[in-house]
Amino acid sequence: MKARLEVHNPESLSVRADSAFNFRSRFESIGVKTPATRLTTRELMADVKMWGRIDLEALTGIVARRVCVGGEDSYDLSISAARDCLSRSRYKPEDLEMIICCSITRYQDGLNFVYEPPLSLTVKDAIGAHRALNFDITNACAGMLTGVYIMDDFIRRGAIERGMVISGEYLSSAARNAAPHVKTVLSGQLASLTVGDCGAAVILERAPEGEAGLQVSNFMTLARYSDLCIGEPCVDAPGAQMVTAARKIHQVAISDSPPILERALRAAGLEYGDIDHFIPHQTSIRAIRSGGKHLARYLGSNVKNIVTNFQEYGNTASTTHFLAMHRCLQEKVFKKGDKILIMAFASGLVIGVVIFTMDELLDRYGSAD
């Protein structure tokens, strides 16, 4: 199968120079895939032999997470999420012009981590998106939002009209591998026990003329903190291990993000209090509560609702925002016209903001509104 995409600059194509960057993008469809197997925090903690007791469920608010079993992997999660996304979309696979795979984990055939060919090539072939240009990106838990950031620019400049951003996170090997090594609450691998598996996919399309579209802004990397969370292949087991300076990364995320968010809100012409739903990275109840309080104090107002779903799914890394959004769409939490704020916090340390107004995306999930 052959796929092709051309990106022209105005001089080499009969596109008027002033027509470039007149476009906006928007979310057209969102799909997810969570593995069927549910692993509770209590079940996971049964394998942890610590000095003293720790109630991880009370500490994090995470009751359970979904985990891959029996050969499920990043590839399966990505494809299933992409198909779920397409099933709600008015587009067919062959309509997609770009596919970006964004997961931290790229496991195929179990726990084999694939570098080449890029996972996006395998996924696009499997779903039949043969026209699409494909590439992978990695940006820790900000992966999918980085994919949105890149694709939004391709749509804004008129190079493409639609594409799909995909991630298939099979992170639970890091949790299993951490269990024998966590001995105290200060363990660097304690945060690994909070992760869960999930696939997510989102189609971005050119927004109709006159619509505000996505406001994708203020993506930046505060690289001074790049070594606060390191994920790599495990030294003594298949899969991954992750070492996190959890307290420090939480502190710097809270202290450094308010001015960045303030700038993004100003660019969108909004106040923090204008936001109806804030979707943060789903880490833990304490982190989200204290972060929310700090933002409200700094910005002088508060959002109407902070979306959480970590209780049932844990921290699903780069898929976290779209899993949360998908659940809200299904549970009809959103209304048309609601202002949604999505904020990335990721190892690196990456901070990024996406703001949009809920539109007909809602209709794809059977809302009466």
């Binding site: 052959k2 990106v7 022209h8 960057f21 930046m220 990397t221 292949p233 298949p238």
Partner: protein
Amino acid sequence: MGALIESVAVSRPGLFRRGSVDLAVKAATDCLLEARLDPNELGLLINVGIYRDRDIGEPSIASFIQRRIKANELFTGSEGTFSFDLNNGAGGMITAIMALDGFLASGAVKYGLVVASDAEPHPGRCPTYPFVPAGAALVLSQGRSGEGFLHFRTDTFTEYAADFSSRIEWTARGRKNKNILVVKQKEEYARHCARCVQEKLADFLKEISLSMEEIDIVIPTPGPPGWREALAGEPGMSERMMALPAEFSRMHTAGLGFALMQAREEGRFARARNCLFLTVGSGITVGFALYRNPS
């Protein structure tokens, strides 16, 4: 108004420079020096290197590079630098330039840095690892009308997807199992790469309304070994394509940077008006890009 190459630099291992991040930082630092650019002016940093120190998967290798070159390590209230890794095989550099191009054209970013470097993740532990360690970096800015990268095209040939593959597998090493990088390359890979380019070259030239005679220089990805020789029969190709040392063929994502560097050192790049960048990589993915030097 395409992305314009401000500077290019390459790096090879030295006494205290062995890993992929070391190689990337050396190339990036030299590149910024040549461009006389303050690292804090970089809006985007894209790392396209694939084989990285310890196979680190999180955070992005780009964030380590950003830290080491001291580009907006913290948010100071003005502009920041955004970093991420991009993987599109050996042709990642052109994909990254294509991604960067829009941000430069819109003015969202004034300068961007594309970095490529590969090194054996655990030296001596991956017997199938075929590449020599190398790094390269390009600083790009927004060109004037009719200058810079003007046209990109990418084609994939998934029927050859198994020709080149690499993955980390849980494999026996001595008496224990370890997570080890395993690289597999079929004998026909180089020949297939050449065939894929031959199939699409005429289409690309038609799209840019140029004949091969109007292309002044062809700057290719040096590897895989033998692919450039297999393409030499293409009319007009052999006299335009850069002749590169055999060792370059064993470089991976940084190879294109080395080819460009050689073209600059030989003066061929400066003399050329229309430059064709030609990339091949796993997939098989072939990339074409027309670059027009400022007059």
